[in-house]
Symmetry: C2
Subunit: 250 residues, 2 copies
């Protein structure tokens, strides 16, 4: 890799940034899918695994009572929700007690297969989310928000997702958002009334612009697999991952 | 998961075993693919990532000179080879210096996509493997054998794979075999002349019977994701994985 090293001046440090705009984020994903030929299933697995690892770093099993290990993973109908389903499965493997709620179940094969994997691993699926927040606060130790990804507004996502977000916004238990907090504009941030305010943010591949306005306790990046050339092409300054860690704290 | 816990008597410890026969191993894979709806791409990614992590445990980067970080990954035309390609990519991400040799390049989409991912990450592909073993010994720090999986005999695999194995058998540098050492009978072991004798074995999902005859330095199992119910159904006694580790030493 001597070529890659000597080539580093292309992405001069002074030009590098930590965040991607919405169009850059979608260009980066297209690069991974079209140029690098990553499969959707492969990306979702990598992101879901890393998201679960991030949860274990923010809320180590050893620091939690049995009751606090119960995690409600709320999964939307797009890729963000698919990542949530893979995250729930890995959390189960890591001895957490996930339950899943899908406000709107999509019919695509990827969601269907990931759902089957969870169901067959005895992960309960809720048929509805109690509107009374104290019931949710009492039943779970934390919530994973995998409802909406970048570029999806609550109004576009439809009634069931908007209603779920209305509940998530009012919870007292810790909230972990995957990629972008649901309801946030991926660039402008989360000033809207529809936005959740997470305690933990797990940026997938690389942080989106809105992450600069995140003020919660922990911010992780789950993009260890992102090829060095892609990082350089987008002029991204990413954290150093240690050992074989798939996430890094920012 | 109280049901699962109380149900544990079904797989009574006295009946449990550490190894799978060839037919059990293929039944376990069918269970994951057909019942659990895991995708081939998803399994290969999980196995390839875990195999790379196993290499980092057996040969930590910090213990290696720059020269010793060069890894030749020899990938066959079946699933074992696909896992090798994913392993090579993750080794690159972990700062090893992999090169790949594919004795027979298959035309299926999964191999093609995994090959593209490696090529675009500047992982060199060898057009041939030097028959003179001292050249290979001199050029690489270690070799990953991802040539043949369980149930594939060298004679069936065709000339190019058999010739590659003939070279691997005579190397002095450490050899890491994925799932079963190439040329071994998955049940009877590696007494045949075609068999390689690895220093490290990484069993995928669960050890196959032949692993009982493995006498190398390290034996890892890469099957953290295997659902508990599958483990129980096959009466498998598997090692305890710690933290978020995807492999465990046996």
């Amino acid at each position: 890799m001597s070529v890659a090293s000597s080539d580093r001046s292309l992405g001069d440090a002074s030009e590098e940034r930590c965040f991607l705009s919405t169009s850059e984020a979608s260009a980066l994903e297209r690069e991974l899918l079209d140029e690098y030929r990553f499969g959707r299933q492969q990306l979702v697995e990598l992101y879901g695994h890393a998201s679960a690892v991030a949860v274990t770093k923010a809320f180590p099993l050893s620091s939690l009572s049995r009751k606090q290990r119960t995690v409600l993973v709320v999964c939307g109908p797009e890729q963000n929700g698919a990542v949530g389903l893979a995250c729930a499965r890995h959390l189960r493997v890591f001895d957490y007690q996930p339950s899943v709620f899908c406000p709107a179940r999509p019919a695509d094969a990827l969601h269907r297969d990931l759902t089957t994997q969870c169901e067959k691993m005895d992960i309960p699926f809720l048929s509805f989310l109690p509107a009374e927040v104290r019931l949710v606060d009492a039943a779970y130790g934390l919530v994973v928000d995998a409802v909406l990804g970048p570029g999806v507004r609550p109004a576009e996502a439809g009634g069931p997702c908007a209603r779920a977000l209305a509940t998530l916004r009012r919870l007292s238990i810790p909230l972990v958002s995957l990629d972008v907090p649901s309801g946030w504009d991926a660039e402008a941030g989360g000033d809207s009334e529809d936005a959740v305010q997470p305690d933990v943010l797990v940026s997938l591949a690389a942080p989106k612009s809105c992450a600069g306005r995140f003020s919660g306790r922990h911010h992780f990046v789950a993009g260890r697999f992102v090829p060095e050339d892609v990082r350089r092409k987008f002029g991204l300054r990413l954290p150093k991952y240690s050992g074989t860690d798939c996430v890094a704290a920012l």
